[in-house]
Amino acid sequence: MAIALSDAELVHRCRAGDLDAWNELVERFSRYVYAICVQGFRLSDADAEDVYQEVFTRVYTRLDTLRDDSAIRPWIAQLTRRLCLDQRAAGSREQPTAEPVDATREQVLADLDEAFAVRDALAELPDHCQEMLDRFFARDESYRTISSELDIPQGTIASRIARCLGRLRESLEGRNHPASPSSG
């Protein structure tokens, strides 16, 4: 289990031109930005990709304007939301599948913030737990696939998932602010 840099440390290193830190920053926020686009704003994949790349372009070029390095997550969230709205206003290449009402959208975005905090806690668990939970819940892999990929008996997967969820819950419940910005 690698010790993750805090958001503030990551931003600091990115500003100093550390390419590994930039790769890590993209990796850390990639799913979050994608989820805001497709779940919060129901953008098509084509429109979501435009927004996604624009978000990271602006993060890269405007990192110096961020006043509080630990506030990178809310900054990225705000940027993504604004660009999603712009994209919709400009007329998308494809019609969105549905138009969520504002209240629904706000609930989705709040859930995504909570999900980000959960992933943050997940990163503190042993690698095998991270792998198991991510494959099952975020990648929708079957027991059969997980068994084959990780070379573990299929019959033990359910109990391993339950154990790892228990560890994740303990980790989260030990935190004071479960939905606070990521590890900053």
Binding site: R31, F116, V118, L165
Partner: protein, 84 residues
């Protein structure tokens, strides 16, 4: 202190799915792409012949620098090139 059921944890873990393949990689290559783009623009400002060559084939100019000529980068290069 928040309490999470296993079901809720599973739901939350399922919300943050990986972006489609290649998206993160393209974003990770931004620093290199931007440095290369800056180099092309700077040379074009100094050298009219080079500028003409770049304008004639923007995608080739990017590829020559080892950059994947995405529509976004091609458009940015077109926009940033100096007027003749």
């Amino acid at each position: 202190m928040a309490h999470y059921s296993e079901e809720r944890l599973g739901e939350l873990l399922g919300l943050l799915r990986p972006a489609p393949e290649g998206w993160a990689l393209a974003a990770q290559e931004l620093p290199f792409a931007r440095t290369s783009l800056d180099g092309i623009v700077a040379q074009a400002e100094q050298d009219a012949g080079f500028r003409k060559q770049v304008v004639a084939d923007l995608e080739a100019a990017l590829e020559h620098q080892g950059i994947e000529p995405s529509p976004r980068l091609v458009e940015e290069l077109r926009r940033r090139l100096p007027e003749p």
